[in-house]
Every structure is written in C-alpha cells, then in structure tokens.
C-alpha cells in the first residue's frame, strides 16, 4: 500500500489512539481511491497526506462535542509497532535515561497546539519541504515557517519546564 506508514504516522500524531488513527487512514485511503482521477500532482505522498489531514479535521469537527478526550493511550507503551530512530546504547542506565527523555519529548509534543504539532511532524518526521507542507495545509509558506519556528520554541519551553519538575521531585 503506497505511503501507508506516512499516512498512519500523521494520523496517529493528530489523534490520540491507534483505533482513531486507523479509522482515519482507512477513510482517507477510500477517499484517495475514489478521487484518484483528480490527482494531477507528481507527489502521491503529499496528495495523500492532504487527504489524511482533511479526513482528520472532518472527523475532529464531528467528534469534538462528544469526546473531549481527557485520556489517551500512552504512546510509548501502546505502540509495539513504533520504533525509535535513535541509536541504541549498550548501557542499561543510558537506556533508562534515554527512555525517560523520550517519554518527556513525547509528552511535550502532545502538549503542543495541534497547528504546531502537525507542521513539526510533516517537517521532521516526513521530511517535507515548506512548499509541500504549505500545499497540504493550504497556507502560505511564510506561515509554515513561523509555525515551525514558534512550535520549536514552545517545545523547548515545555521541555525545560518538564525537566525542572523532574529534577525537583
């Protein structure tokens, strides 16, 4: 299935659980299949991610009254399929420390406003250009830039606060 991992990764970062993300990906693939003739670009992944995102926001509008998801699955424990890109360390303490800092990073990303989180996922994890992100979200490239800039600053601030909390316990 072309671009399935990209579609799922974006959906999973927009939602809070595997089930919702899988439903959104399925809906998006059905739409993509249906509207395939309207695709005239040269990058299928960008086109599909745009559909995933629209599907998510439609779903989100419909569901936000009912579920104000106060709870969400713990990312690090629920997703066996996920993997870490970082290098493995042989030292068990280093692994613990790394796991812990990865958990903090994961939590911090979850706390970011969604408009920052989505551009960061597209940029850092999907390696898309400003132009491609602008096409997906339908915003000017300058807005992509400022959202990335502000998102990273806010992430740094959240992480700094979390690290301090952890240290004072």
């Amino acid at each position: 299935m072309p671009h399935l991992d990209s579609a799922f990764n974006l959906a999973r970062w927009l939602t809070h659980g595997n089930q919702e993300a899988e439903d959104i990906v399925q809906e998006a693939f059905l739409r993509a299949f249906k509207f395939f003739d309207s695709f005239h670009g040269d990058n299928g992944r960008v086109w599909l991610l745009g559909i995933v995102r629209n599907t998510f926001y439609t779903w989100y509008q419909q569901n936000k009254q009912q579920s104000q998801y106060t709870q969400y699955e713990d990312d690090l424990h629920s997703s066996e399929a996920s993997f870490y890109r970082s290098a493995e360390e042989s030292n068990p303490e280093a692994i613990l420390m790394q796991k812990d800092s990865q958990r903090l990073l994961q939590e911090a990303l979850r706390e970011l406003p969604i408009e920052f989180r989505e551009v960061m996922v597209m940029r850092e994890l999907e390696d898309l250009t400003y132009k491609q992100i602008a096409d997906i979200i339908q915003i000017p490239m300058g807005t992509v830039m400022s959202r990335l800039g502000r998102g990273r600053k806010q992430l740094a601030a959240i992480l700094a606060a979390k690290t301090q909390q952890g240290g004072s316990q």
Partner: protein, 265 residues
C-alpha cells in the same frame, strides 16, 4: 538585513529553505548577532531532537490487510490475496513518478535516514555547536594542552574513548576537551587551534564503514568528515579549507594506524 528581518527568517535558514541570496544576507547579520545565533542554535537543536527522537508510528500489518479488504476491487478483475495492490500502485506510479522509485520510497526506511537532508541537518547541528562553543567561554570543559590530562578526563564521562593527540609540532596545538550533544547523543569534542582559529573535532562511535575525507562548506564554516575504526570524525572551523584539510589528513593518518603503533591510546 536588519535584526527583525533576520530573526524572522531563522527557522527557514535552519531548514535550508532560504534562497542563496537570502541566506548570504542572513549570514552577514548572523555572524554579528548573539540573539540570532542563539535562536538559530535553538531551532537546530529542537529540530534535530524531534527528528531523531520522536516516535515514528508505523502502520500495523493488520491495517494494510483491512485497507485491501475495504478498497473497491473494481479496478482489478483478478482477485489478489496479497496486500500489494499492484494495479493501484502502477496506476499511482504512472502519475508522474517511476514505479520503482515510488516503491523504494515507500518501503525503504533506511532511505529516509540516508536522504541528503540528514547530512544537512547534521552539519547544521555541528555548526550550531561550533558557534555556541565560541560564545561565553564554553569552548572547553577541561582546558589543557596535555593529551595525558584531556584523555583521562573523557573517561567516566563517555562509553567510548576518543583519541586525544597533540599536534603542536604541526602548528595545531591541543587546547582542551568538552562534551556536547549532537545527532541525539553525547559526543566528545577535542579542541585545537591554529593561529587563533579555534578548531572543534567531534568524535562519536558509529557502526558505518570507514570513509575517506569529505569536505563541506556551509555558512562560512569549513567541515571535514571521515570515519575510521568504528568512529565518526568531524572537524569544524572558520579556518580556510586547505589548512583544515591538512590538519584532518594528519589526524586521519594517525588514527588509521594500527592501535599498537599509537601506543597508549
């Protein structure tokens, strides 16, 4: 370019999204502005942190099966049990991309890591670290021109032992060492200088194959990279490329020697 304009462009610069002309104007300002340098370092640091440490959620095999079952079969007269819907992939690939490359993009995660932007991001991090090290006396955590002082200092700080070699005789005296955070891990930095130009040598273990010297110039800094005996080496400096390369060559030659020949390494 004034400070306000430059500060606004920091994210685009750290993402390599500025035109050559814009980047040149930006760099003229950056070289003399602490605030913009700090902003740049933060952008590069956060970008790399997310890129290398945030979870990438892969789709489960069940999801692929579920999709194949859900998708209309109209386009394909033959029923297929495989999760590869070849007709669809071919149709999709036909829309501008060669099928083989599309399949490669989809299925190779190692390709993801090998894209040029990974290298670009790494050089960006190295330069940000180099620039940071020039500020506020943070060049060295241990200041010593004696390799027998610097080398033990790294012990206990790291799970690997970086080579510390003095090159005073060739005009590149050792100045000290420090730890830094690059590419999602703690790395050793050994500091040299040549005619007041500081040189940072970054070392970390890497399982990739040995590679010869490779030069890069970015943002007005020169970088030389090589890998030998399971270690990755990067030197970064504002020193001119020819001199920096000759320094890198002498290091490379020393490190390429068998362990015994180097004595107490």
């Amino acid at each position: 370019m004034n400070h306000e304009e430059a500060l606004n462009l920091v994210p685009a610069y750290s993402d390599n999204e500025l035109s050559v002309a814009e980047a040149a104007g930006f760099e003229r300002h950056l070289n003399g502005c602490d605030e913009c340098q700090q902003e740049y370092a933060e952008q590069v640091r956060m970008s790399a942190l997310v890129k290398h440490n945030a979870v990438y959620f892969e789709a489960s095999p069940q999801l692929a099966k579920r999709l194949v079952a859900a998708l209309p079969k109209a386009q394909s007269s033959k029923k297929t049990n495989s999760i590869w819907d070849w007709n669809w992939i071919i149709a999709w690939g036909g829309k501008g991309a060669v099928m083989a490359s599309l399949v490669a993009i989809v299925w190779s995660t190692s390709l993801f890591l090998a894209t040029p932007s990974f290298q670009e991001k790494l050089t960006g991090e190295l330069i940000a670290s180099h620039i940071r090290s020039l500020q506020v006396d943070h060049l060295s955590d241990v200041i010593s021109t004696d390799q027998h002082t610097v080398k033990p200092w790294f012990k206990g700080m790291l799970d690997f032992s970086p080579p510390v070699i003095d090159f005073s005789s060739s005009g590149f005296p050792l100045e000290g060492g420090r730890l830094d955070y690059i590419n999602g891990r703690t790395v050793a930095v050994i500091i040299y200088h040549h005619n007041k130009h500081p040189i940072n040598l970054y070392v970390w273990p890497d399982s990739s194959k040995d590679s010869g010297l490779q030069n890069t110039n970015r943002n007005g800094y020169n970088l030389v990279h090589w890998a030998v005996n399971g270690m990755d080496y990067w030197v970064v400096s504002d020193l001119e490329a020819r001199k920096l390369t000759s320094f890198a060559e002498s290091l490379h030659n020393q490190l390429g020697k068998p362990m015994k020949a180097r004595g107490q390494e």
